[in-house]
């Protein structure tokens, strides 16, 4: 592929290919914010379409939207509130995992906060279902832990 000599980073775009085969463009300066992408660029060069096996076409546009705002310095509390407003729990989880995979720190921190907010004062069982984890404690271990941490259960509806 023909390459422009000394192209400035700001105008260059990188092609990203999702796990389900779709291609999206992102500005190089935004790609830099995602350390996994940047590492792939460093290894493979910036002319090649970067494959992202664990990110899909449903969530990548949302991530790109976030970083587009980030490079122009326009991320505000209002923007972030709007960004997650219509997302359900599953959608937030998918974005969170993608941000982790992409090593996109700012988005990762923001979504950590959002998930923490969604889990505030929720029961243990609710959190297990949310994260899809099994209870791997023995009944004895569990009752001992509950006893030690009884104070933290006050006011929590356990069957939520």
């Amino acid at each position: 592929m023909a390459q422009e000599a000394s192209s400035s980073t700001s105008s260059k775009t990188i092609s990203l290919k999702t796990g389900d085969g779709e291609i999206f463009e992102i500005e190089a300066s935004a790609a830099k914010q995602m350390k996994t992408v940047q590492r792939l660029i460093d290894d493979l060069g910036d002319d090649i379409t970067i494959p992202l096996h664990n990110v899909f076409s449903k969530e990548l546009p949302k991530i790109i939207e976030y970083y587009k705002k980030d490079i122009t310095g326009e991320i505000t509390k209002d923007f972030e509130a709007e960004f997650v407003k219509d997302l359900n729990d599953d959608e937030v989880k998918v974005l969170f995992l993608a941000a982790n995979y992409l090593d996109a720190n700012k988005l990762f921190e923001f979504l950590s906060q959002n998930i923490a907010d969604r889990l505030e004062s929720k029961s243990v069982e609710y959190v297990r279902k949310y994260f899809g984890v099994e209870n791997d404690f023995t009944p004895e271990e569990e009752s001992k832990l509950r006893e030690e941490r009884a104070w933290s259960f006050r006011g929590i509806k356990e069957d939520e």
Binding site: E59, D90, E109, S112, E120, F131
Partner: protein, 314 residues
Amino acid sequence: MVVIMQEQQEAVEFHDLPEGCIENVLSFTTPRDVARLSLVSSTFRSAAQSDSVWDKFLPSDYRSIISQCDEEIDNSLYVLSKKDLYVNLTQKPILIDDGKKSFQLDKVDGKKCYMLSARSLFIVWGDTPRYWKWISVPDSRFSQVAELVSVCWFEIRGWINTSMLSPNTLYGVYLVFKASTSRTYGFEYQPCEASILIAGGGGDPVVERNVFLDAERGRRLRYQIVPRRRTGIFSRYLEPPPPPQVEQTESVDDLQKYPKERTDGWLEMELGEYFNEGGDDKEVEISVCEVKGGGWKGGLVLQGIEIKPKPKSC
């Protein structure tokens, strides 16, 4: 809106989430949530112990605060995990500033609490033994407390810089004291004037109120025991007791003017409150005085002035 398809779900199974991700989410919750969620699974329990989570709950300047401790305590604190350090600081105050103040974290949300020792306060006539005596008592956190023998002019002042306080917090300011072995007198009917103001602010005090440093009266009001309608001790045994009612001149709101009992055996009198926004460097001046009535007062032991977040139910 967005539907997660089967084949996608396989690639992004949530339970494969690395412990570091769980730690990050937990660090944005509260100490209470972290304690409770350690029950979710063994991975959560492990994440819940991590330093990176508890580091976030400790106040950002905790290192410089605990470095003001005496050396022995200081070293032992550094050896603890951040979680144990946090729990330790909520359970037991440490002495800082050469023993002049104590520091602690509030149990509920880790906000900073301080008690200014009596020695660090400005007490008028405090150095004159016939008015105030300095003694040691086993149940004080400080090496010395001030015993009020007898004064006419009762004036106590203390200061704290807002930069030491947690931001975005409503603080209550309390005089911490108790009755001495001799009877407390002079405070039952003559209120003291308590005020909180910004030193050098030139403006009006933030809070000004009248308080009665009389525990007995407060106790009676709290339990709504009325002075008996009939005099004579025998009336108690011969007739049914009169129905409880609050004293005529006072209401439940007036409870604010009397000391409350603390769990450590001392009393605390709320002198006022102060909302600390944070990010500034102002001196808050706290004072409690009775200098107008002219009566003699005595029989108190003063531990200090405590500044701690007001309980949320207030």
